[in-house]
Amino acid sequence: MATIKADKVLPLYRDMLRIRGFEGKATKLYEQGVLPGFLHSSVGQEAVPVGVSAHLNKDDYITSNHRGHGHVLAKGMDPVRMFAELYARTTGYNRGRGGSMHIMDFSLGIVGANGIVGAGVPIAAGAGLSFQVRQTQQVAVSYFGDGAVNSGAFHEGMNLAAIWSLPVVFVCENNFYAESVPQAYASRVGIAERAAAYGIPGVMVDGNDLFAVYDAAKTAIERARAGEGPTLLECQTFRWSGHFVGDPGVYRSKEEVEEWKLKDPVPRVRTWLESHGVKAGELDALEAEVVQEMDSAAERGAEGPKPDPSTATQDVYAPEGVAQA
């Protein structure tokens, strides 16, 4: 924790709690059968998006994947409208059209969760191209899992970002499994090592250590903003739940899961905060407050109206006017 100021840690801790709280609540609701579709929980991986987003501005962009709640919360999404989307209500971010796997908010630079593994990589490169062409200081962050790095889209997108020195940071959440397939089965090498194939920096950090992620992301994002091109950042972490809510996860041993739970990223930050003078009571209150926030967000999300069936085919095409420059 070389570079972060102590007073900045508390809000980050809060962000981590909020992700865990959101996922916990959403999981519970899903298990109760009130949320349609699929749900992928990111519990255990909270340090990654929080450590990365600490360096992002509102006008920076992110692409996400199927396990996107943490990414988008850390980028600033409102849990009320997220829950509303999970409930498929018109008050949701996507007006109930997208759901968990496609949650988007362009006003926050959130290009969207994505149901296609790997697809966000070239899209992030394209966002980087925009910033480069318009000569802004924006960056694009692309989040994906260890499973995505074996897709052609990953390869093509990484290479394009590299040769054009685009302002993109590729953040791989290596949680060691893609559904049931171990990372070490699907590739002979580590994720960060793949950066060498594109001539860009590849950095591996403990993704359960907020400070490590924070530092590595800072370097990578500053590098991107400075026009020095992309970085591949591998954050080693673990998903506590099954691949989706309901997956018993028979492909992992209990011991492995338990071992990772001991490396829980959340209490590590709490311990640090306590040792830096934050009172336990204050932290307890914060934790309670977040649980409260998510309960209430879920409730308010559920209050939104269901879409009017007559609007089903809206927004397939943009209206064609006389376009102006």
């Binding site: 296609i116 593994v117 052609g152 893609a178 028979v250």
Partner: protein, 336 residues
Amino acid sequence: MRQILMREALREALFEEMRRDDRVVVFGEDIADPMGGSYKVTLGLSTEFGPLRVRNTPISEAAIVGAAVGAAITGLRPVAEIMYMDFLGISMDQLVNQAAKIRFMSGGQVSVPLVIRCQGGPGRASAAQHAQMLEAWFAHVPGLQIVMPSNPADGKALLKAAIRSDNPVIFFEYNGLYNVRGDVPEPEEDVVEPIGVAKVAREGSDITIVAWAGMTRMALQAAEQLQEEDGVQAEVVDLRTVSPWDKETVLRSFSKTKAMVVAHQAVRQGGVGAEIAATVYEEMLDQVDVEIGRVGAKFSPTPFAPELETQIVPGKAEIVQAVRDVLSRTARAVRR
């Protein structure tokens, strides 16, 4: 006869064919034990046949199909799985430019005996990227065969046929059928149904409903409802193979009923229904007194919200409605 689930029937076909023929290999994402496939259709295969013949793959849909092509033209009979039909776009080049064309381009030197199994389809609030029916793309590609069974017995018998076929087959399993139970002959009988042959799934005299996969099931339910509520006898032709499709059976049924609805879950515009309807008009215009009903999804991606999804994707109710529309127009046509 014993009754088993669609997923069990398909699994039996894989076991039986792997036992029968050493050249059959199976690979895809998460298909090996202990996962045994996202929908458990391959459960137990890797345990029985071992890691040489049954393998998990990385998330590499182009390579899955490419490797299947390479294996097929060098003596194996790969059955590769693409987890969702929606992901076939990633494999498209290998499917269309390689698998479908190698035999032809080689001047007939070699065949490409592979099967691509995939599942998916609407009806589960899976949103726009996990609910598509894309058979029309592949029906437009010479060299491919597209098999889409509607019940456990056909699922098993046609998967066996697909594995034994010397041609590349896309074998599509509609997710909504996995837990459907049906009569399936005993393994010893080794029943294999021919690819390219439709089946009259229900006899009727008033109108023909042409459907496949999940829509056949809904067509049968629609036919029941029509019988009860309208006294209409609908004949249901289960196409089973979408390419090459069985024109004769369809035309034979039409020449009996003189009215038709063709129904699919895929988008209506440019769907396979257009080809079938156009063909019936072309071949039997003399006998077409009333427009053929074409049921398909509205021109939109699939929405997440269940209320909207049912608006976009047709089901039993839309088939019933289409039949009623056709028959009411018939009445008018007759009056004219």
